[in-house]
Subunit: 342 residues, 2 copies
């Protein structure tokens, strides 16, 4: 168990390093107002903290730097979220000023403002479209052999896909088909559509419409690889500002990671509640060994969920980011439950 003095020193070191990105020496700490003991005493405590694994040295005669364990202890025990002021809050509120109706706009704006306020990179996940339910299904023919299938969901999302029509497909065929599909598909979630199509709808259609096989097949493949949650980025190049990313290779790896949808998705932990913090190697991705990722979720309407991630160096301003994310998730949740309905 750490003594009070050790806690105080550890906190001072982490805070200082987060602020200045320089190894912290005993003298520097001793000059802080809240510290009442001499550099020599601090040096002794520092040596203990290093033995315990909370601090590291970059070389034998350098100041101390927090280890991952140090950061972990810091966020678990020494963090009282703060460091945001009314200006910050005002700026967040400004997202909702212009009475935008569209979820997408709000999220896009949120991503930008978050990256601006944190000076890190923000990633926001929109609603999980897969769980939307079909409100209406329609098909608009474009020519004799192609058409667009359109699905409107209960939340106002629109999916559309072009596909080729089987030859000799008449307008009345199409109408019958659309009617049947609407009867059967309304209320089904997008992720279940192709199951439903193949299991149930196919047999019904075969009785009423010629070339239903081909058609359904086209439709199934069209709805198969459906879009996952849309991803919005803010401040993609903000990391260039951080001294730990003055290395081109690191930056590149992270930027590349952010271009890969599956990798980005795996940054999130949608099943855990509250605010998650992954420090350095706690992240699964090798590319993120020098980064911390802070994530949280927000609600969109009754049953939808979005997520937020902030990516920065392990030397991240955890206090501020956690505080900001907390405000953000609440505001987003509120904004999206107020106006949405079925």
């Amino acid at each position: 168990m750490l003594t009070n003095r050790q806690l105080q020193i550890l906190q001072a070191i982490v805070d200082d390093f987060i602020m200045f990105a320089q190894p912290v020496g005993s003298r520097q700490i001793s000059k802080k107002q809240e510290i009442t003991f001499s550099p020599a005493t601090i040096r002794n405590e520092m040596a203990d903290l290093e033995e315990l694994g909370f601090l590291e040295k970059t070389h034998t005669s350098s100041g101390r730097v927090p280890s991952e364990k140090g950061y972990r202890f810091y966020v678990d025990h020494l963090l009282n979220p703060q460091g945001i002021n009314s200006r910050d809050i005002q700026q967040i509120q400004s997202i909702f000023n212009d009475r935008l109706v569209e979820v997408e706009h709000i999220i896009r704006k949120s991503a930008n403002i978050l990256s601006e306020l944190t000076s890190y990179t923000s990633i926001l996940l929109g609603p999980d479209v897969q769980r939307h339910r079909v409100k209406r299904f329609s098909i608009v023919p474009l020519s004799s052999d192609s058409a667009v299938a359109i699905i409107v969901t209960n939340n106002g999302h629109v999916e559309n896909r072009m596909f080729s029509l089987p030859p000799n497909f008449t307008a009345s065929d199409l109408e019958k088909m659309v009617n049947i599909l609407n009867e059967r598909l309304v209320g089904v979630s997008l992720e279940d559509i192709h199951k439903k199509l193949e299991a149930e709808v196919l047999t019904v259609l075969q009785q009423h419409v010629r070339s239903a096989d081909d058609f359904i097949h086209a439709l199934v493949t069209a709805t198969m690889h459906n879009s996952e949650s849309k991803i919005f980025y803010g401040g993609k190049t903000n990391m260039f500002n951080q001294p730990e990313f003055h290395d081109l290779n690191k930056v590149r790896m992270i930027l590349d990671l952010m271009e890969t949808t599956s990798q980005v998705q795996s940054l999130f932990h949608p099943n855990e509640s509250g605010i998650q913090i992954r420090i350095g190697s706690e992240n699964k991705q090798l590319e993120m060994e020098n980064c911390s990722v802070i994530t949280t979720t927000y609600s969109i309407g009754e049953d939808q969920q979005g997520a937020i991630a902030i990516i920065g160096p392990t030397r991240m301003d955890y206090k501020r980011v956690v505080a900001l994310l907390d405000v953000m998730r609440m505001d987003l949740t509120q904004a999206f439950t107020k106006n949405r309905s079925d």
Copy 2:
């Protein structure tokens, strides 16, 4: 006017520098197979070429480097597009293998393959949606006070926007309205919709539907800021490979530029035909002073146009890129005119 020998030497120097990114010395040139004269002779010619502004030195005793004027001369007079082989062409063809119907997929894939083949960054502009014409207009109500407006265009593109319904708006109101809108809007291009709405449709609607004013207003604002051509990127971080971009600031500026839609749009020159090359400061953007941009256009169906840009260092492999773009534009044009129809 340059002598034959000067042309030969200029070409050799530019080619060599494009390949190795190192200032080129007289000895290096003299060792090339096609060069039959001594280093001393080459030095004399180099001095002349420098006086004429085609070459530069990085310092008094360094080898020569092409100037912008040198590159310009090179692409104007010494460039015979080549340097692509059947493997490259095969890879380009592979874009069209899986009989994709959707324009978007093909373009996305093209962007990736182009960046892979060039090892530069590619930007592709999709069709200019503004010039699509309305095929069908429909409205799907979501709740008592909100609905989605959907426009399907002749090319199978789907635009949709949520908006609030005026209070006490009945289903029959909606139906009437949709009918009127379809009568009037089909065949109108997207960019003209709001003019048409305000000028013509408004008065008709006012006669038949209550609260038409509010409604049209909502619709107009919804269709106003329509999406421009969609932008697709390939190999955003490829520039990290180029030695001239080992400077974080340059990379950052270019990446930031690529996040700004208006800036990206201004890289293209849709009214010029063929393949355009902008070298260094020939680009309007200050950020691009060390870059060259090669652009071209391709056709999508009868009247639509897309565009391609490749961004690389001024020391770009012009030969290869021009050759690749030429194949690409032809293949895309062909693919999109074959299957499209009204």
